[in-house]
């Protein structure tokens, strides 16, 4: 396994980021109908540095094999504080074994949080985690090696 190159996405990457998010939706959707206008708004914000940022790992054919998107946003309904919230963290299923892509994305995310904290002058928290109906326990174990566990969420389908 060679060095994995993670780069910050730019506007020209938006179509491939969208293609990756379609793969995420297909692989691991909670079942909510996707609104493409909303999805594109978040891709635009992250790939153009408008409140968000996106990192990608390129494939050999110009496609994107893995990506993380993160935005600064209000931390919750009860507070005026802000945090960095991961919007997506996805490695294509066929690229998960032995590639180191997930670790590389996580390292990028931690570096981004540190750099943003330095710019802001305080330690802005970053919240990330798996959302999945498949292999959730294994994903939780992997995430727990990278951050402090602060919660979970639960869904009763309508």
């Amino acid at each position: 396994m060679g060095d994995v190159i993670v780069r910050t996405a730019i506007q020209a990457d938006e179509p491939e980021v969208y293609a990756l998010l379609l793969a995420l939706d297909e692989d691991n959707s909670l079942g909510f109908p996707r609104n493409d206008q909303r999805v594109w708004a978040h891709i635009n914000a992250c790939c153009r540095g408008q409140g968000g940022v996106c990192a990608v790992i390129d494939g050999p054919d110009g496609n994107i094999l893995a990506s993380v998107g993160v935005m600064a946003m209000p931390a919750g309904w009860y507070t005026d504080a802000w945090l960095l919230r991961e919007l997506w963290f996805f490695v294509r299923p066929e690229c998960r074994r032995g590639t180191g892509y997930a670790n590389a994305l996580m390292a990028w995310l931690k570096r981004h949080q540190r750099e943003m904290s330095e710019r802001l002058g305080y330690d802005i928290p970053c919240v990330t985690g798996p959302t999945s109906r498949k292999r959730l326990a294994a994903k939780e174990r992997w995430w727990a090696t990278h951050g402090q566990r602060i919660g979970a969420f639960f869904v009763v389908k309508g």
Binding site: N35, H42, T79, L87, F153, V156, K157
Partner: protein
């Protein structure tokens, strides 16, 4: 569990602030909390359930309609779900979860379409027992992890642009 009404606002607001101050990861905004409590007691796309005892509110849940960032479909989610510290061995938590399911069913009946219920735990205080309470009753679909906490257990920060955190 009974539905909260406008007459419950004052004690409910005090309860919610106490409840969140024990477990919230971020500094509280009293104005935002008051706004959601008022919405809940007025049933403005929100609802609150309370359990009372001889000494006032012992437990409460507040639910409101929200959306995920990638969809227009609404869901019902919790703003708070808490049990007073001296009442934690009497199954109030499970009753509040049941109330939440009841509220979701009524809401989707009224809407005429499916409206999922999201319950989220986000705390570092007694996380494991809270996880077990929820896991016994509702399918878990996600987990949250964080770093960048100035103090372990508290995401201690000021607002963006407000200078250096203390």
């Amino acid at each position: 569990v009974r539905r909260a009404g406008e007459a419950d606002v004052e004690p409910l607001l005090a309860f919610v602030i106490t409840c969140l101050s024990e477990s919230a990861l971020q500094p509280l905004s009293p104005a935002k909390i008051a706004a959601l409590v008022w919405r809940a007691v007025r049933m403005e796309h929100a609802i609150a359930g309370i359990i009372e005892g001889d000494n006032g509110i012992e437990a409460s849940v507040g639910l409101f309609v929200s959306q995920l960032h990638y969809t227009d479909e609404p869901h019902l989610r919790d703003g708070w779900l808490g049990v007073r510290s001296d009442c934690r061995r009497v199954n109030h938590g499970a009753r509040l979860v049941q109330f939440s399911k009841w509220a979701q069913e009524r809401m989707q009946e009224a809407a005429g379409r499916p409206i999922p219920l999201f319950l989220e735990i986000m705390t570092t205080e007694a996380l494991e027992p809270k996880l077990r309470l929820y896991q016994r009753q509702i399918p878990q679909v996600g987990a949250s992890f964080a770093w960048g906490t100035a103090v372990p257990g508290r995401l201690d920060q000021k607002r963006i642009g407000n200078g250096r955190a203390h």
